[in-house]
Every structure is written in structure tokens, then in C-alpha cells.
């Protein structure tokens, strides 16, 4: 008998409408697989959301600052005893000499607001203010000696703890281990806040100001290091763009197929993958130890970042040179242009949007890079002075935005963490603008052949 006895039992019940167990299993596996994929993307996007919300939640506070408005009487008896308005004599009085004026103004503010003074010593009351307050008053007096004797309204920075209290970072419980401020101060702050003496305002000095010492987070700003980053980016732009474009033109249009070209190609591919900190080591030993360029200078930082971004720029420039169709070159050669004329007059202008896009992306990458800057001494340097000129901007020590952020994070003070996150918001704004410009350039000018 050739008719086989198939086990028909299981099959007999199968139907096109009801799925059998195996198909169900396979479909379930299919659904699971798809869910894994969706889950992976969801987790990735969730991380992005968490990152962005924590940046904003922690950083926005840096753009608000607590100020104390005081009417300080610039008493002649205290700061200009001779009454001659002699600037040299006024300058001799240190910030210490201005403290009594501020104490008096604070006491006056208490009386005006009808609040009892819980402290016997002026020093305790003054703890509500930043220790930079006296210096602010002194700077004002030196700038306007004719106002001595008047009563002038000052918006003085509150101390970082008062600021933290109004932002919810400092509470009465957390002050129990704190020597600088007592809960009594906070009661005062509440009363003052009601009276409008203590107020929160937009923190412009944070965006334009200089870094401050470790004990005065309320005074620290990112302005000077922003300039440092700007000078560095100028160096990167001036070095990396011409060299990168020249190198790409050679490799894409002229290089013969030989070992030398291969060597260059391999080197570029490897440099693109070398960790950024190794470029920092290179900068330290070549630019600082060997060539004796000044430490922490934006020039050195810019050179190191140039070497780091060159591979990125070369790779994107080559891609955009490659995308110019050969017919353009052939047409130019056909009407008698030399190879060089073909490239510089026809291929390069057509590839320019792509090259600029790549350069901007390279610059954005360089702007956010921190590790190499640590090694050339940009961290630990307190960037407290604006560069005085163009040469000074390149040659004198400065910080850079990411280095400044790291420096603040290192100080391990909640008030400085807030500054660091605020700095990150500014840094990301810059990066976002650069990327948007790159996208617009690509959309508007890139030609598809």
C-alpha cells in the first residue's frame, strides 16, 4: 500500500478561520519583537526627555537672582573724611570701610518695614547680603565721587543661601548645620520679601559676568568664558576650514592612487576615532611644553580643537565634493579650463553649502568639547577679567564655556550646581542655533543632481 496513513487527527480540526497553536506562537513572537523595538525607542526618547527636563528644572534658577534693595547713605564722614573728594584718598578705604554703611542701610530698611531686629550685631544682619555687596558700593563711589553724601538706592546681591531659600534649595532644616545663616535670617527674608526689599529679578550678570571665587556663587557669571569660547572658535574656524578644505580637495580631486595617499586616508580615519583626551595630551606636550605657548590661552585651546575637528570637516567636505557630478568637471575641462581652474571655479562653489554645513557641525562639536581643555589648563583658572584686546583675547589665560561648567560642578556646592546647569542651558542654546543654521543651509542651498 502506497497510501500512507497520515495522522489526520490533528489536521482534521484545523481551519482557515481559527489559528493553530504554532501560528499563534509565531504571531505572539512577532508582536513581542515589535514591542521590543517600540520599547527601545520609547526608552531612548524617555532618556532624552528626562535629560532635557532635568536641564531646565535645575538650570532655569540660574537666570533668576535674589536682590536686596537698600537705600545706602554714602556718609561723608565714613568714606571721605577730608571732604575734598580726592579720588586717591577715597580709593584708600577698603571694602571693609563700607560695611558700616551697609549695616546702617539694613537697619534703616528694618525700621522702614517695621520689623524687629533679632540680631545685636550688624555683622549677623549683613550675612543676608553677598560678600560682594561692599565692593559694589565701593565701585559705585569710586565711579561717582560726587554722589558722596547722598542716599543712593542699590540693588545688592543677596547671599547664595538667601537666594537658595527663595528658590526652595535651602530650608530651615538644612540650615541647622550651617554656620552662615540661621532660621532667624530666613524669618527676616520672609518679612523683607513681603515688604518688597528682597526681590527676585532676571539675572543678567550671570550671562555677562565673570567667574567669582568659591565662596560667592551668587556673583559668578559665564560671560568671560563665553568670550574665551568665542576666541577659540575663531581660531578653529580660521585654521580648520582652509586646511580641511585644502586637504579634501587634494584627496578628492588630485591625489594619485599610491601609498602616500593611502597613508593620509588611514591617518584621517584613525584621527577621527582617537579619544579627545589624547588630543589634550598632544596639545599639552607640543604647544605648551615644546612651543612654550601660554597655558590656558584660547589660542592653544583653539589649535587643539582644530586638530580634533579636522577629520570631521575633511570627511564632510569630501562627501560634498564627491556629490558634485562629474559632468560639471568634464564641461569645464572641455572648454579649456585647467584642472585647478575647474576645481576652484566650478566644483568648489557648488560644494560650498555642504562644506559650510559640515564646518558648522564640526564647530558645534568643538564648542562642547571639554576633555582636551582640562589638560591645557583651562580648568582651575578663575576667569575673572575680560580680555583687554584682540591679542589679549587670544593669548592671555581664559576659560571656555564647557571648562567653566566643569569648574563650577567641581566646587560641589548646590548653588554652583545651579550655575553649572544654567551654563549648560546657554551652551545648548548656542549648539542649537549652530545646528539650525546648518540645517537651514542644507535645506536652502544644497542641490540634488
Amino acid at each position: 500500500m502506497s497510501d500512507a496513513n497520515f495522522p489526520v487527527g490533528a489536521r482534521a480540526q484545523s481551519s482557515l478561520l481559527a489559528l493553530d497553536a504554532r501560528t499563534k506562537k509565531r504571531n505572539a513572537a512577532e508582536a513581542r519583537f515589535r514591542a521590543y523595538g517600540i520599547g527601545a525607542i520609547a526608552i531612548g526618547l524617555l532618556f532624552l526627555m528626562v535629560l532635557i527636563t532635568s536641564i531646565f528644572a535645575k538650570g532655569m534658577g540660574a537666570f533668576q537672582q535674589t536682590f536686596i534693595t537698600l537705600n545706602v547713605e554714602l556718609s561723608e564722614a565714613k568714606i571721605d573724611k577730608s571732604g575734598t573728594r580726592d579720588l586717591e584718598a577715597i580709593k584708600k578705604i577698603t571694602t571693609f570701610g563700607y560695611n558700616p554703611l551697609i549695616d546702617a542701610a539694613l537697619a534703616q530698611a528694618l525700621t522702614d518695614a517695621a520689623i524687629d531686629n533679632p540680631f545685636s550685631k550688624g555683622k549677623d544682619l549683613r550675612k543676608m547680603l553677598s560678600s560682594s555687596a561692599a565692593a559694589d558700593v565701593r565701585d559705585f563711589v569710586i565711579a561717582n565721587p560726587d554722589r558722596i553724601g547722598d542716599t543712593v538706592e542699590f540693588h545688592l546681591l543677596a547671599s547664595s543661601r538667601v537666594d537658595g531659600y527663595l528658590k526652595g534649595r535651602v530650608s530651615r532644616e538644612s540650615l541647622t548645620r550651617d554656620k552662615n545663616l540661621t532660621p532667624a535670617h530666613l524669618d527676616l527674608v520672609d518679612a523683607f520679601y513681603g515688604a518688597g526689599v528682597v526681590s527676585k529679578g532676571f539675572n543678567l550678570p550671570f550671562i555677562t559676568g565673570a567667574d567669582a571665587s568659591e565662596s560667592r556663587p551668587e556673583q559668578a557669571g559665564i560671560g568671560v568664558s563665553m568670550l574665551g569660547s568665542l576666541y577659540m572658535m575663531l581660531v578653529v574656524l580660521a585654521c580648520a576650514l582652509p586646511v580641511g578644505v585644502a586637504a579634501s580637495i587634494y584627496l578628492e580631486e588630485f591625489a594619485p592612487q599610491n601609498w602616500f595617499t593611502d597613508l593620509i586616508e588611514v591617518n584621517i580615519a584613525n584621527l577621527a576615532a582617537v579619544p579627545s583626551i589624547v588630543f589634550g595630551i598632544l596639545g599639552l606636550s607640543v604647544f605648551i611644553q615644546f612651543a612654550h605657548l601660554p597655558q590656558s590661552a584660547p589660542l592653544v585651546g583653539g589649535l587643539v580643537l582644530t586638530l580634533m575637528t579636522l577629520p570631521t570637516i575633511i570627511i564632510s567636505t569630501r562627501a560634498s565634493l564627491k556629490s558634485v557630478p562629474p559632468s560639471i568637471r568634464e564641461a569645464a575641462l572641455g572648454v579649456g579650463a585647467s584642472k585647478m581652474q575647474t576645481v576652484f571655479h566650478h566644483v568648489l562653489p557648488l560644494a560650498m553649502p555642504g562644506i559650510l554645513t559640515g564646518t558648522i557641525i564640526g564647530l558645534a562639536q568643538a564648542l562642547g568639547e571639554t576633555a582636551p581643555l582640562l589638560l591645557i589648563g583651562m580648568v582651575g583658572y578663575v576667569a575673572s577679567n575680560y580680555p583687554s584686546g584682540l591679542v589679549d583675547g587670544f593669548m592671555s589665560p581664559n576659560s571656555a564655556m564647557p571648562a567653566q561648567i566643569y569648574e563650577w560642578a567641581k566646587r560641589a556646592d548646590p548653588a554652583y550646581y545651579e550655575r553649572a546647569w544654567g551654563g549648560i542651558i546657554i551652551l545648548l542654546l548656542f549648539l542649537m542655533c549652530m545646528n539650525i543654521i546648518a540645517i537651514i543651509l542644507r535645506r536652502r542651498f544644497e542641490r540634488r543632481w
Binding site: A29, S54, A246, A247, N270, S276, G377
Partner: protein
């Protein structure tokens, strides 16, 4: 004359050369441009190029070489009794340089005359106050030897500057004259200029080689001088890392650092590879066009965020969060916010887009015909992915994972801020550990001078890092090339 002025002068010379050369060429054919071999501008460019480029090269080389030569020469004149090792000599030389700079400033501000510098006597006059008055602060008193050396340095650099001015100007004018002599109607100016431009292009392309050579040399020389002070075997096989050891005993073993590096990278890959790979599969195989256009750029935003942001995220968000769960109040496995887990998790997040976009490209490169064949045999979509697409894309994906690993090993900011500073050989992922990159930063940003083993060890660490990442990259390339399935 300073280098900046020289630069301006030769630029001006080149500009005049352009106008004169162009004029001469046109004049040589009696104003009939058709008789010229090249366009008139090329004759101008030729003169400008020959006047500018050689002089510029001489200037650049001179500016770099002169201080090095003079420094070497002057340090030979410092009495041996003053220093015992290279580090002290460096300190003395930096003093000498500052004194010489200060004397220059004083001369420029009219505080002192040129004769005055030569008759200065450190015994009778207060040099520190003098230099302080022009804004140069000197830490210690200036001895006669340092003053002599500073004078020598000043004299030699003045002579050097003069020689440089002379040589550069001569080279520039020679180039200028030679090019002017060449210029005539039959001279093939365009070919010469294009040849010159091509040399410039080759020079720019060679910068990549120069950078690599610079990296390798700076690592090798410092590593060798480190091994001169510290036994190589102790570095490579030592299991303790304590640079400031008690009683003068130092332990600079790399193994704990390597362990920390690899452990953190492993945790990072554990996060990044599954998420990145599944995201890539979903985006390339399942997602609709709109989902893809929306999710892919958003994921790639993660790659564009600077590492300092991730570092701070690890330090102030992820670390405290983990402590809440695994710390003393929770499971009790974790002591501080900094740990392998903190750094690894955050690094994993950073690497997700890296893995996903690389894998996405590779999966997209698998030809559609293979998928169609699989569907034709009745396979579901996931079976096709698992049994056809992934095996075909496997070498590329392995390469992508290796590249991600190399990224993780070389990452600095996240581990500096999230991983801790204690070098430990431990299995608990909630312990603080440290990595090669974090130690490079801490050894080179401290106060120790560059000649001590504690600072030089950073170069040996850098060398290890360089070799490790380079090896991984080459391996990745090799795997991709060797096992790549060639379709079409």
C-alpha cells in the same frame, strides 16, 4: 623687529609683487593680452607666491626654533651647583625667562636704559621691586647667576631677532626679484602657480600624518622617560594605584584603572547595545515614514549633546537617584553617588544613538531581495529580521559595537564626574571606581611638575588608551571588511 611686523612687510611686498608682476607681463607683450601664455593675474600671483611662501616658511621655522636653541644654550651656562635634576633646571629657566621679559618691559617703559641693564647689580639694586614696578612679579630674589643668564638670553634673542629680520627680508626679496626676472610673455605662469597651489594642498593633507606623528612622539618620549623612573613591569602588572604612597613608596599599577575602564564600558554597552539595536531594527524594518522622520532625529539629539552635560547629569541626577534605591536607605549596596553604575548608565545613554545610527545604516544596506525571499517562504517579519537580515548584517553590527566600545573606553567627562576617584579592583558595580581617562586628567591637572613620575605616568596611561582604542578601531574595520557579504 617683531615677527608680526615682518609678516606685514612681506605681505605688503607680495601685494606690490602682484601688481608689478602683472604690469610687467602685460607690458612685455605691448598690452596685447592675447599674446600672453597665461591670464595676466597668474603672472601677478606667481610673483606674490614666490615672494611670500619661502619667506613665510623661513619665518615660521625660525620663530619655533630660535627660543628652543637659545634656551638650550643659556641653560648650558647655568652653573651645575644650582640644580640637581631637570625639573629644577626647568624652574630656573622659567625664572630666567621671566627676568629677561621683565627687563625688556622695563626698557620699553623707560624705567631703565639699555646700559642700565648691563650695569645692574643684584647686590646693590632691588631687582624685584624694579621688575614689580613694570608688572612682572618674581617669586624669589634674583641671584647674580640668574641675572647673567637673563642678560645672555636677552642679548641672544636680540641678535636672533635681527638675524631673522635680515634673512627673511633677503629671502622675500630674492623670491620677488627672481619671479620678476622670470616674468615675460612666454613664461608659463599658470602652470607654476598651479604647481605651487598643489604643493599647498598636499601640505594641508599631510597635516593629518603630522598630527598622528605628533601624538605618537609626544606619547612615546614621555612614556620612555616615565619608564626610566618607574619600572615598566610594576606599571603594567601592578594591582594597586596610590600615587602619593606613604613612606615614599609609590604604586602606579595600571590594572585597577583598566578594570574600572572596562567595567564601566561593559555596563555602558549593556545599556546601549540592546536599546540601540532594537531601535535601529524597528526604525528600519517596521516604522512608518513619519515615525522614522520623527524618532530618528530625536534619538540623534542624544549624540549631539556635549559630554559635560552627561557628566553633570550623572553627578547630580542619576547618582542621587541610584543612591535612593540602592543606597543606605534602600538596599544598602551603594555608598556614594559616584559609581560604576552611575557612569555606565549615563555613558550607555550617550552611546544609544551611536549604536542605532550605525546599525541602521548597516541594516538598510541588506538588499530587499533577501527579505522578499524570506517573506515568500512564509516567514513573519520578525523571523525575517532574526534569521535573514541580522545574520547578513552581523559583521557590520559587530563593527559598530566595537566602535561604540572604543568610544566608551576613551570617554572622559562622564567618568571624571560620575565614576569616582578611588582605584579599585572590585566586582560590585555600585562601588566607586576610576578609569584610565579620569586618572590622566587628575595626574596632569594637579600641581606636580612635569618631570615627576606622578605626572609622567599620565603619558603612559595615554599611550595605553591610544593603543587600546586604535586596536579596537582596526579590529572593527578588519571584521567589517573580512566578513562583509558582498551582494551584487
Amino acid at each position: 623687529m617683531s615677527a608680526l611686523w615682518l609678516l606685514i612687510i612681506i605681505l605688503a611686498l607680495a601685494a606690490t609683487g602682484f601688481i608689478l608682476g602683472r604690469g610687467r607681463a602685460v607690458a612685455s607683450v605691448g598690452g596685447d593680452r592675447r599674446k600672453l601664455h597665461s591670464l595676466p593675474n597668474y603672472y601677478g600671483f606667481n610673483v606674490a607666491m614666490l615672494a611670500l611662501v619661502p619667506a613665510l616658511l623661513v619665518l615660521a621655522v625660525w620663530v619655533v626654533i630660535q627660543p628652543i636653541m637659545i634656551n638650550a644654550n643659556v641653560s648650558g651656562h647655568i652653573p651645575d651647583a644650582l640644580y640637581s635634576d631637570a625639573g629644577q633646571l626647568n624652574l630656573i629657566m622659567s625664572d630666567v625667562n621671566r627676568v629677561a621679559d621683565g627687563l625688556g618691559d622695563a626698557l620699553r617703559q623707560g624705567v631703565i636704559t639699555a646700559e642700565g641693564i648691563h650695569t645692574l647689580d643684584p647686590e646693590t639694586s632691588d631687582l624685584r621691586a624694579l621688575l614689580g614696578s613694570v608688572g612682572v612679579a618674581i617669586g624669589s630674589d634674583i641671584s647674580a647667576d640668574i641675572l647673567t643668564a637673563a642678560r645672555l638670553l636677552r642679548d641672544q634673542s636680540t641678535t636672533g631677532q635681527r638675524a631673522m629680520t635680515f634673512v627673511v627680508l633677503v629671502v622675500a626679496s630674492l623670491g620677488f626679484l627672481a619671479a620678476m626676472r622670470m616674468t615675460s610673455g612666454t613664461f608659463r605662469a599658470r602652470n607654476t602657480v598651479e604647481y605651487g597651489v598643489k604643493l599647498l594642498l598636499i601640505g594641508a593633507a599631510s597635516l593629518a600624518i603630522l598630527t598622528t606623528v605628533g601624538i605618537v612622539l609626544s606619547l612615546i618620549f614621555n612614556t620612555i622617560s616615565f619608564f626610566g623612573m618607574f619600572p615598566a613591569a610594576d606599571f603594567l602588572f601592578g594591582t594597586t594605584w596610590s600615587p602619593e604612597g606613604r613612606g615614599g613608596s609609590e604604586h602606579l599599577g595600571i590594572l585597577p584603572l583598566l578594570w574600572g575602564t572596562l567595567y564601566i564600558s561593559f555596563v555602558a554597552l549593556l545599556v546601549a547595545v540592546p536599546i540601540g539595536l532594537f531601535a535601529a531594527i524597528y526604525l528600519s524594518e517596521y516604522a512608518s515614514r513619519t515615525t522614522r522622520a520623527f524618532a530618528k532625529p530625536l534619538l540623534e539629539v542624544l549624540a549631539g549633546i556635549p559630554t559635560i552635560v552627561y557628566g553633570l547629569f550623572a553627578l547630580t541626577v542619576v547618582g542621587p537617584l541610584l543612591v535612593n534605591v540602592f543606597g543606605a536607605d534602600g538596599l544598602g549596596w551603594m555608598q556614594g553617588a559616584r559609581s560604576v553604575m552611575t557612569a555606565g548608565l549615563v555613558m550607555g545613554i550617550m552611546l544609544i544613538p551611536f549604536v542605532s545610527s550605525l546599525s541602521d545604516d548597516i541594516i538598510n544596506a541588506v538588499p530587499q531581495a533577501m527579505r522578499d525571499g524570506s517573506y515568500g517562504l512564509g516567514a513573519t517579519q520578525s523571523e525575517t529580521v532574526r534569521q535573514v537580515v541580522l545574520p547578513a548584517a552581523l559583521p557590520g553590527i559587530a563593527g559598530a559595537v566595537l566602535l561604540a566600545a572604543s568610544r566608551a573606553i576613551g570617554e572622559t567627562m562622564i567618568v571624571v564626574m560620575g565614576a569616582g576617584a578611588a582605584a579599585r579592583l572590585d566586582l560590585n558595580p555600585f562601588e566607586a571606581m576610576t578609569t584610565v581617562t579620569a586618572k590622566i586628567v587628575s595626574q596632569l591637572t594637579g600641581d606636580s611638575d612635569f618631570a615627576s613620575p606622578e605626572a609622567l605616568v599620565a603619558f603612559a596611561l595615554g599611550m595605553t588608551l591610544f593603543v587600546l582604542t586604535l586596536g579596537l578601531n582596526i579590529l572593527a574595520l578588519y571584521i567589517v571588511r573580512k566578513y562583509r557579504e558582498q551582494y551584487e
